[in-house]
């Protein structure tokens, strides 16, 4: 079943005209409603009359995370906040969150693309879904919720956590669909084993997993463990939240709903489009959003794209699983962590910037472990253990407060952390995603 036959199976040549019209409207809309975009366009000598078809998108400037950060909280909105229906936020590189908003139409759009996604994964009206993504400022829980409402599913809004209860509800209510992060799916398996549950007898038949990168190895593990079809969903709050693209049952790329989220794959250094099939940075333009539409937003995710129609019948172009990042960002327990945030914390605590390194690991069936190595220097050294412990604790608390994720701090001797000529290797990711 395809949720929106018209747009999801439209030949791409026909879709181009619609995308072109939408782009024209969008360019005019942001120019006239968002002073920050007006300035951006003027600085790039954009002439609105020159934006006639979708290919003209190259004439428009990029939007970066920095633009969002610098405009905190509502500077990039194209709508006064009293008309915004809902606000969400996700972690930014500095202390500030990245804030996004949704008008009434945007919420309808979100419901539409999430309904498409759930349907794409194999959900049908009347199926029961357990939404174990967090509900709140994070877009995961509510996004899945809106989509499920639109598709006509029966929703169990458990949000994340309280694992024993999640497992009990699964056994008692018998939902067919599970929506949560892939690492949480593995964590629930570990808990299940501890209480003697046979995970292979779970009622979950379809999983919609995302909010963090995960590879084929993890997919096989989840599918074997839970006897489930594990599909990948991709999204980012800046664009809408979950629902930007979704794997169908063939698991051969994630269908991107390019009638509303227009993709480009660029070389991150030059900004030019890469050759077809090549990997590059995914850039997305929100063609129809009203509260905070973004023009050519640089996601920093590296993917390749495939424009061939899929066996499922959808023509929506398929992006690969995320192959990497153009920056250092890692996802720990579903939370975006930027190594530079650690720098800010350390600088703030002792007025120094000691050498540090992040080590991320995940043991079988556990959630992610983050360890921060900090090299001890004369200035922070004390002969008293308790002073060193106080320092460790101070760093740990600050990191937890600023990053939103708990970390173990390990004080190490000088020169333990490898130096490099160029960019320091700030992150050692030992996870087998």
């Amino acid at each position: 079943m395809i949720f929106n036959e018209k747009f999801e199976t439209m030949p791409l040549a026909d879709l181009k005209n619609i995308q072109g019209e939408r782009l024209r409207d969008l360019a005019n809309y942001v120019y006239n409603n968002c002073p920050a975009y007006k300035t951006k366009f003027d600085q790039s000598d954009v002439r609105l009359a020159d934006i006639k078809c979708i290919e003209d998108i190259k004439k428009l400037p990029f939007t970066t995370k920095e633009d969002l950060r610098n405009s905190y909280p509502f500077g990039l909105f194209s709508m006064p906040t009293n008309q915004v229906q809902e606000i969400h936020a996700s972690s930014g590189t500095t202390g500030n969150l990245t804030v996004v908003g949704y008008s009434k139409e945007d919420i309808k759009l979100w419901s539409e693309v999430m309904a498409r996604s759930l349907c794409c994964a194999g959900a049908k009206p009347g199926d029961m879904i357990q939404i174990a993504y967090g509900y709140g400022l994070f877009t995961g829980g509510l996004g899945a919720h809106y989509g499920a409402l639109e598709l006509g599913l029966t929703i169990i809004p458990t949000s994340s956590g309280q694992t024993k209860r999640q497992l009990k509800l699964m056994q008692d209510f018998k939902p067919r669909i599970l929506a949560c992060t892939p690492s949480y799916a593995m964590y629930m398996a570990e808990e299940a084993r501890e209480i003697g549950l046979d995970t292979r007898q779970s009622t979950w038949q379809i999983g919609v997993f995302g909010a963090e990168p995960w590879g084929e190895q993890m997919r096989n593990q989840i599918e074997k463990t839970w006897n489930i079809l594990a599909t990948d969903i991709y999204g980012l709050s800046e664009i809408i939240g979950p629902g930007v693209s979704q794997e169908c049952v063939h698991k051969d790329g994630l269908h991107m709903f390019s009638d509303v989220f227009f993709p480009e794959i660029i070389d991150p250094l030059t900004g030019n489009e890469v050759a077809p099939g090549q990997c590059g940075e995914l850039v997305i333009t929100t063609l129809t959003k009203r509260a905070i539409p973004l023009i050519r937003y640089r996601t920093r995710d590296i993917v390749s794209i495939n424009y061939d129609p899929c066996r499922c019948g959808r023509t929506s172009p398929r992006i690969s699983k995320i192959k990497g990042r153009t920056d250092d960002m890692i996802v720990v327990r579903g939370i975006n962590v930027f190594p530079t945030q650690i720098e800010t914390v350390l600088l703030g605590i002792e007025g120094i910037e000691p050498h540090y390194q992040l080590i991320v690991d995940r043991h079988a069936g556990q959630m992610d472990d983050l360890e921060v190595l900090v090299e001890v220097e004369e200035r922070i050294f004390s002969d008293e253990i308790k002073q060193l412990k106080v320092m460790e604790e101070k760093i740990r608390k600050e990191i937890e407060s600023i990053l939103g994720v708990s970390a173990k701090i390990r004080l190490v001797e000088p020169k333990t952390i490898a130096r490099s000529e160029g960019k320091a290797k700030r992150v050692i990711d030992k996870r087998n995603l």
Binding site: V376, E384, I385, L388, L411, V412
Partner: protein
Amino acid sequence: MKIKQVSVFLENKKGRLLEVCSLLGKSNINIRALSIAETEGFGVLRIIVDKPEAAVNVLRSSQLVSNLTEVIAVEVEDKPGGLARILDILEHNDINIEYMYGFIEKFSENALMVFRFDDLEKAAGILKANSIKILTQAELGTACN
């Protein structure tokens, strides 16, 4: 009255302690008293050596983090109750002990212990007032600052 202790930061890994002792040995620096306080990940090595400044320089050249801390070398009667008596005096006077450890050798018929106090000046005053002998750097035969 005060003597200098060399404190060194060491990770809880094989060979760290050996490295420190080798370095000191090669530089002709002699260890008089030693204590290690450890935690799960790291430890602080505290040593009284005959040439404390030289020791810190040698350690720093080998990328080890160390510093000098002022401590007091206190004579303790070498018989049951000897230490208790001193601790009693300190407690009565609200003197806080951060840590303490013993010297390897004796200088008289009394034992000799290293004390690290929160308020070194006050502690020294109280000990002196109670006729408890504190050794000077010179008496210890260690290098002067």
